[in-house]
Subunit: 320 residues, 2 copies
């Protein structure tokens, strides 16, 4: 006699083909399902831009804190921010998944739905992937983008002294959300901090800011993934410039101040040292592009200063 | 006082930046090192092809059996075979790595060297990546290819009855190599079986066979990753054709027969059920393209037969 189907099947219960069907039904694309995906012809003279990011459970996300949909959103945002940071437009994503056999099928379904929801915001598609068994839950997303026109890409080495430093997105929200989750767990975080938790679990940017910045005078861009001071230091080093940030422009807002008081933590450490916001940090020769605000300027010299002084917090993300 | 530097440092000893330096020095590319990699402009009218594969230690490779260089070669071959199977040319690879902190730095160096060695055979480059800590060693490679010209890509659904079935590469060698490794370990496998072991640990194809096949009448192609019968069954189902394979054309050669005798195993199970050879299986309207040999034909009907009869072995790779 057959066993009755389990009410909450795992990927081990249903097997590889059923898992793939779950993903392709939650994130459909006509380009998926062959040995490799063939993209539509790109615009004349456009160049291909590619990046990859790996998310490991317990390190980049935690199923006790994040819904599967949020993990999917985060995986896409982290990758697409890197495409936008070149001034390019994200067009496709690929998904690699290592799954313990006891992973609920519902997790995979939710993850794919979150990925689909997020790529659609960029008019992009999940075009292919690979799944395998494994002892830990690892999510690998690769993003492919298109860089049109003749302007140079927004490389890390193109900033020059005397340019404006601008940002699109929040600074420190993700780190504050993580600190709250660690203290209280998802259900215990006071409701007024929901935006901070969301910034950590499912960071969002407005699609298209990278292309707009590149079209309106940006010279260099990166996303705030490792921490503001760390990421700006990378620009400073690669471009051989100094960067001076205005303390007033990045000062913790009332929500961060409130969260800092709640946890007994100086909120400046989130603003200066917290990564994973994936906010876009750019230098530009013109005014702040639409959606960006000015937070400082590039200067002759080296390193990063806040109102001319060394930052009080500068440690960022550590991988090992 | 500082600790003396360890003689055999781990990735945890040296940290993320040193690990990245190790990779980019073993596999240099001017396109690496920014938020995302920008590829050279592609040929007019060419389309982008992309695929991703994840290799998990203990499942797809085993450090007791494979050198780090071999693992790198295998990761590239598995991905590039998927690009070739569309009739496209591999041009780039991205590498995602989840590394336990105690992973020797020498493993990462060797892996990157193997990847570099293999992508260079295709005139391709490792253009970017991501590394992170994690409890298990997971390697994610994404390959990007270029599909030129106006011929359709070699999709799984384009075979028609009355076409020739051809293969480039060995069948069953990887499975035989794995069986020998399981029995004897790397050092214990009799030397006369070195080619089988190598087929498993570091599979190699002749670059460019996919493009050549597409240019000379191939209609459909896949790589033998899950097992001959499984992979041909996929073509048969997706193309709504039957596939009849000539037993004589795929019969185990003397090396496989010898290995089968050594292990007390019927070598036909390796030929019919063994995957991971990454040999290219194609249907074509013309003669076998250069580098391919004829092993059967497509017929009206459905499913896969060997000399008109059901295959004696048809199980392939199981993920969970």
């Amino acid at each position: 006699m057959n066993q009755p189907a389990p009410a909450h099947p795992t990927v081990g219960d249903v097997g590889e083909h059923a898992v793939i069907r779950e993903i392709t039904s939650a994130a459909p694309s006509s380009r998926n399902g062959d040995d490799a995906a063939v993209l539509l012809p790109s615009a004349p003279n456009s160049r291909v831009v590619a990046t990859t990011d790996m998310l490991v459970e317990g390190r980049h996300f935690n199923r006790a804190w994040s819904t599967p949909e949020e993990v999917g959103i985060k995986a896409v945002t982290a990758n697409f921010a890197d495409i936008e940071a070149m001034g390019a437009r994200p067009i496709s994503a690929l998904l690699g998944l290592s799954l313990p056999a006891d992973t609920p099928l519902s997790f995979v379904r939710g993850l794919a739905a979150g990925i689909h929801e997020q790529v659609q915001k960029y008019s992009a598609e999940l075009i292919g992937g690979d799944i395998t068994g494994g002892s830990s839950l690892v999510i690998s997303v690769t993003a492919i983008g298109s860089l049109g026109g003749n302007l140079p890409e927004l490389s890390l080495h193109r900033a020059k002294p005397g340019q404006r430093l601008v940002v699109h997105g929040r600074l420190g929200y993700s780190a504050a959300g993580l600190a709250l989750l660690k203290r209280y767990g998802r259900d215990g975080v006071p409701h007024r901090f929901a935006e901070l938790v969301s910034a950590h679990c499912a960071p969002q940017l407005t699609p298209g800011r990278g292309v707009i910045a590149r079209a309106t005078g940006a010279t260099c861009m990166t996303d705030n993934s490792d921490g503001l001071v760390v990421d700006l230091s990378t620009i400073a080093r690669r471009s051989s410039v100094g960067i001076d940030v205005s303390a007033e422009a990045i000062a913790p807002d009332s929500l961060l101040v409130d969260a800092g008081r709640e946890l007994g933590v100086d909120p400046w450490q989130w603003v200066l040292g917290g990564g994973e916001d994936h906010s876009l940090l750019a230098t530009t020769v013109h005014d702040a592009p639409s959606g960006f605000r000015t937070i400082g300027r590039t200067v002759r010299g080296s390193g990063v200063t806040i109102d001319g002084a060394a930052p009080s917090y500068n440690s960022g993300w550590v991988s090992f």
